[in-house]
Amino acid sequence: MTNLEKYCNIYRKVFELDNNSDVTTLSFQGIPLWDSIGHMNLIAALEEAFDVQFEIDDIIDLSSFEKGKEILTKFGVDFN
């Protein structure tokens, strides 16, 4: 599994979406389950899966699927 697949699957799992659903357009408060509870669940799941620890600013900035990729790239996760 590539990092991108792993990354997508975390969104599907945390936000209870179907296996093939498009997650690339998701954003904070954009769907009911990505609320502040969902946000902390997402943070915990990403940290565990990619073995990283976000800074407080990263948690605030991680407001969309794309933004999350940018932040993880900063931590050395390769999405290419």
Partner: protein, 348 residues
């Protein structure tokens, strides 16, 4: 235009009276204008009082649904958890105001914690978050502070019993790190401190800190002073750093932190005035009165200038020995004739 970004160029306790007045004052004036144009009930209050910046009593949020946004843009509704039979305050948030709460809280907290996330033990039950559309002040507090935590662990079960095994494991697992304990004042005292005492357990020393707030009123009834609280927790839970904060659900985010010298501080995102009991004029240092709370956060609802039901005393401005600028104050208690009102420390 409401230019709150200007504030984020500074540290939360960096501005002296004169510099703050300029930036902060402008934002509050603009917020008043915004609410006047976007909230019909607020407009009526302004017009009736012939005042552009009226004081809104917190209880008005119980009587009326006050909002300055379309219902379609509400992403979250927060409530004060009133005890049964009481009306609760309803606070309506849109994306922008919710984001501002988080940003301001992070800035204030970082000044005290150094901005690093720490292993976090919450003295509460996870059950408090079960309804995700309707947050009590308690749930909102827990979630808001969770971003400062890692390995987030809840210390109480659904029946508010302390899971001592989990707590001891948590202390052991993180013994070489600074632990962050968070909870509401009353619950920390009742379900953590008292339980440790009755079990005759002393937890090992840790260099982290305990942050608590929201429940001092109940403890005043039990005659537990702030010093006693600190002393008790130092002896049983192993923490010498115990920080209190003051805030209310109507102004979530812009909390007032108690410093090492036991004073509550305004930040550059908030202000207070102590108002004379008789004529509501602004009191001088040392005089007791109503606490007026001002915050740059509330934009989706007109809660930027509030009259609380708490009494306090102004201790100083820009002169706290801790070095942080801004006003400092202490809280005396609830105003006697005020309606008995639940706070975030209530639990059903």
């Amino acid at each position: 235009m409401i230019n709150r970004e200007e504030l984020f160029k500074y540290k939360p306790f960096q501005l002296d009276k004169i510099t703050k007045e300029k930036i902060f004052g402008n934002i509050i004036t603009e917020l008043s204008r915004y609410h006047y144009e976007n909230c019909n009930k607020y407009k009526k209050i302004c017009d009736a009082l012939n005042n552009k910046n009226p004081l809104i009593p917190v209880r008005l949020f119980k009587e009326f649904e006050l909002k300055s946004i379309n219902s379609a843009n509400i992403v979250k509704t927060m409530t004060s958890s009133g005890t049964s039979g009481q009306k609760v305050s309803k606070i309506f948030l849109d994306k922008e105001t919710a984001a501002m709460q988080t940003k301001v809280l992070a800035a204030i907290m970082s000044d005290f914690t150094g901005g690093k996330r720490m292993p976090m033990l919450i003295i509460d039950t996870k059950a408090v978050l079960k309804d995700r559309n309707m947050f009590s002040a308690r749930g909102a507090g827990i979630l808001g502070f969770s971003m400062f935590g890692t390995d987030i662990t809840y210390a109480l079960d659904e029946n508010m019993n302390l899971d001592i095994e989990t707590v001891q494991k948590f202390y052991e697992k993180h013994k070489d790190e600074n632990i962050f304990i968070f909870g509401f004042t009353y619950m920390i005292w009742e379900f953590f401190y008292k339980k440790l005492l009755s079990l005759n357990i002393t937890l090992p020393k840790n260099n982290g800190f305990i942050l608590h707030g929201g429940g001092w009123k109940k403890l005043i009834h039990q005659a537990v002073s702030n010093d006693e609280f600190k002393h008790g927790l130092s002896n049983t839970a192993g923490f010498d750093r115990v920080y209190n904060y003051y805030g209310m659900v109507e102004q979530t985010g812009s909390i007032f932190m108690e410093c090492e010298h036991g004073r509550f501080h305004t930040s550059i995102y908030s202000d207070i005035n102590i108002l004379n009991y008789r004529d509501f004029s602004v009191n001088n240092i040392g005089e007791e009165g109503y606490i007026e709370l001002i915050s740059v956060i509330p934009k989706s609802y007109p809660g930027h200038i509030l009259l609380s039901e708490d009494a306090g005393i102004l201790l100083g401005e820009d002169d706290c020995p801790c070095g942080r600028l801004g006003k400092t104050f202490k809280i005396i208690g609830r105003i006697k004739e005020a309606e008995v009102r639940g706070c975030s420390d209530t639990f059903e």
